[in-house]
Point group: D2
Chain length 337, copies 4
């Protein structure tokens, strides 16, 4: 950690800072420049995380040197983490495509879509039973029985299932019924929920928050890992910007950046990122070209009647075409699909 | 709702949309311009909220006309809502100042600060027992007993207390111990928590999310109100932008905008908004000048030792000065303090 | 255009609006709903662009229906615009790669890089003679003679050249010396410069502004086209967001969106967008997969000594590899390189 | 400057960096921590500004310690700069209110508004002769003769005038006719224009760019000052964010921050910031409470007919009321109006 002092900082003020560092068991190093005095702190920066050093008189700014996370980092674990979901591997050479309806509605529709996406090569079935909706007057999901519809679709197709949890009180239910627990963008900093899913080893698909930095995203993954659960999948799904042409701005530079900083698998959700079915295919291709380990795609047999996010769902035929096109892109970056 | 059709939309496509509107019991109105055909939908737009009309072939865009909320709106209730917390009125002519430490630490410190802020004119004591922290390695709050420290401070000073809830499972505890339940920025779209606090009539202080629009903020308040709880206080606390000079960008235009759209009281938190104690006083004054109904301010007797957010806390003497200065600003806009 | 009236709008206020529309020669259409009265205006919305209708009493909001541009739109011209620069075609099936140093420094270095990028398949040489720099103390470019260095490199390699103009007073110089005039992100709304380059038929490479919406970007292109110059190339180069991990956030969804709205060619600059050489290759691949018509890439033989943006430049050997990899991605989306 | 090395950086790589620093005449200081090696560079950071140190192998990140500006800083000049415009002082105890129409249209209208705002206490007349408009089809200003209308209004009222320049080629005209040259938000990084106005001592009103950080804003002011012109007035006018409820987000925390970092006067434009006349008064009051040295306000006698930005203009009667209310706020913060 680097502490920069104000030009007018007095010796007493500087000593006061140094005393505090000593109390914390840290070594420090003073450099007196022409315009500023700088204190370099040697040792584990993380001890300083709870110290409001900028509240000390004479301190101008404090810059951490080390990343604030440990378990999620490439330094902690060099090799890519590969998560095995009943034989489907996430994070390996082969890309994983998770597909299905935004919200689970009826058992026949869900199972039908599951058969379709499986036939086109999807490895995992997605579907929301509980839906976080901006308005209280929007469809809130079918709830508990939605998970049973997914289970029935899994029984018929063999596809493992991923579904979103909204409430810590539902943890037992999700542990029992789904293969991957999804934490949605709006709950990326619902720390109680992160702690809860961190207490088990059930794989967690963690979506990046709407206005979360890469740092905050990795710290939320660290919450889960620090509780013991090592099976975390990161998902980029667009961030909020000033642009209104699409729902969010898909930040694909996050993919190689996350892969460089962390050993965890990184997938991309082009459906929620854009909110427009026309943009799903080009953004899915771009995500694979950027190095994503997989995709999360909304597919619906009848988007006009979808109770949630029909405008961003593609039809099974369109999905089949896309899977075909993705093959060539995957090969172009040394991957398989 | 206005539906704009693509220039190449066929008659069949247009009829398909009209049929759907008829099925939903809505009347429609067609205007055929030179470059576009437009369908105006008469009746309650809110029925259309679950219809993915942009998924229909031939549809270019869909623009809602009515605001998506009801209970929070000025149209629903003309007069300002005034919430009475044991005699302290929020939303009336007199401004309400909520002050106290970011996190509750020890009983003596908490009670000491409570006495100080009361002496300077604060009406409500704030303090966090459970703290939502970006990093799992930061201080997470003292938890349950923190609420008891606040209660003791209340016993000594008579100040009602506000504290933040993080988990639906803690609702009974908060109902029992605090006067106002705070929902923090990171939980503004934790819809299960909103539904939970909506089920009682305990006043709720709802903070605007880091990247929430005014619309989303009001819809979160609508979640609470639609469950029956009419005692909602809105709190502007800065939004996330590209600027890194301060922690967040305090959006004071939100104050008159929210007051125009809604009857609910609006307060401002200049401490979290800026993350710098030097900016708290000017932003507190600006908030009052902009028409806020109150302020939420972090005060700590020893910011250097605060376990959370010491860099944005002001000392009791500074708070006293600020309260003095605010009086003149309040008078300047026809309010009292 | 749709004009929504306030619930309390009086008949006199409504008539006042209707009178104004009549004066402007526009037909209007009134729909009286239960909660709001709406006026639909038929005819060319663009006449209304200079009318501050929201300043009229009783008006709640005004929503335009038609896009505010004409010449840049797909409706105006169905087929892709293909711009021919001395045999190099931009906007056709074959992708165009523009490569070279950020800033032109010495004639030998520039020519050396030109030979290198040509050998790897670049079609156009880029290089800045005049540099827009955030700080007055940063290297400002070698100026006028830099254009001569580029010309010499062109003479040796046959590569057409693109370079950035900063001042309307330099127009003659650029018309004479370069093949494509670049308007940088910071000048995207320097309207006098847009008008100036619009007066000739020299191709213009227009970069999207740091915080420009797709709409504003297309309107800036419309400025150039409305003056007569039809040879405009659009360039996505990252937008400003809250994320600080990379210099800007590359918005690849802009590529298919711009291609849908406009007939103009769209290229991508992954170097400036990310500001990190490690991210250039993955983002270049993603851009091609997203449907870009070409790329603008910084290449420098000795990035450590580059006087400008060395941290985002790749070396010629790296560029060669990238060109090789891009071939497979291009084929995957039905293009050539 | 602090250079952090990668954990795997070799001795040779470290020596390579140290050699370069030595070549540049800088002293360096190595700290070898457990997890990272850090090089502290002593001397003037600004020499390093043109060195792409992150392009060196083994370097992880580079953090500057000193602010990149000099002349604009409080360290360079402790006392507030006060600019005298024919007796009207900007930056002193007394606030300066600049008011007038967005665009100058007719001589009678302009003079009429000038008389009105003078009577209410405005100190300077504003008005645009050349207008930067997003669309080429919007009213572009009356041009050259608009400056003469302003001069006539000045002759009648004695109010000094401020008007916006768009093109370096108009510098002579502006030097001759206006008292303050305005550089608009879209030209804040039109560096050629900054250099041009920097070459004279005519006062310059520099508006913050739509997505400019405080740092970039001060560096643009530094451009002007480094050319010799010391009469720069900074103007906060709202930044671009995701919020669409108002045109821009007025960033009032910029006011005390700029005053802390710089000695230059800071004024606020609540009209362009919000784009809604209803928000002008509350935001004007908030700006004064936050410590602004003045305001820039759009006033029009007939907003419905204003050719530009009528929706954000207030009428002279409303302006008079506002001036009355501002007096009390100004007193509340120890200022006069």
């Amino acid at each position: 950690m680097i502490i920069v002092l104000k030009p007018e900082a007095s010796e007493r003020e500087i000593d006061h800072v140094l005393d505090r560092l000593r109390e914390l068991g840290l070594k420090s190093h003073i450099s007196t420049g022409e315009e500023r005095t700088i204190i370099g702190v040697i040792g584990d920066d993380r001890i300083l995380q709870n110290q409001p050093l900028t509240a000390f008189p004479g301190v101008e700014s404090v810059t951490p040197i080390l990343a604030p996370w440990k378990l999620v980092s490439r330094e902690f674990k060099r090799d890519n983490t590969v998560i095995d979901i009943g034989g489907v591997k996430i994070g390996g050479k082969k890309l994983v495509i998770m597909a299905g309806p935004c919200a689970v509605e009826k058992i026949e529709v869900t199972a039908g879509i599951a058969h379709d996406v499986k036939a086109s090569g999807a490895g995992i079935l997605r579907g929301g039973a509980y839906k976080p909706r901006t308005s209280p007057y929007s469809f809130q999901g079918v709830g508990r029985e939605g998970l049973d519809y997914l289970l029935e679709a899994k029984r018929q197709t063999g596809l493992p299932i991923v579904s979103e949890i909204l409430d810590t009180r539902d943890i037992e239910l999700f542990l029992q019924k789904v293969d991957i627990i999804q934490i949605g963008a709006r709950n990326m900093q619902n720390f109680e929920l992160l702690k809860e899913v961190g207490a088990y080893d059930k794989p967690v698909l963690l979506k990046r928050g709407l206005s979360s930095t890469i740092k905050e995203f990795l710290l939320s993954a660290e919450y889960i890992m620090s509780r013991g659960n090592r099976n975390v999948i990161l998902c980029e799904r667009g961030i909020r910007t000033f642009e209104t042409q699409y729902r969010n701005t898909l930040d694909l530079a996050a993919v190689p950046s996350l892969k460089e900083l962390s050993h965890l698998p990184v997938i991309v959700d082009p459906s929620h990122a854009t909110g427009k079915w026309q943009l799903v295919a080009p953004m899915a291709k771009a995500a694979v070209a950027a190095g994503a380990d997989g995709l999360l795609i909304e597919v619906h047999s009848n988007p006009e009647c979808a109770l949630c996010d029909g405008e961003e769902s593609i039809k099974p035929t369109k999905f089949k075409e896309l899977m075909h096109d993705l093959k060539k892109i995957a090969e172009g970056v040394g991957r398989e699909i």
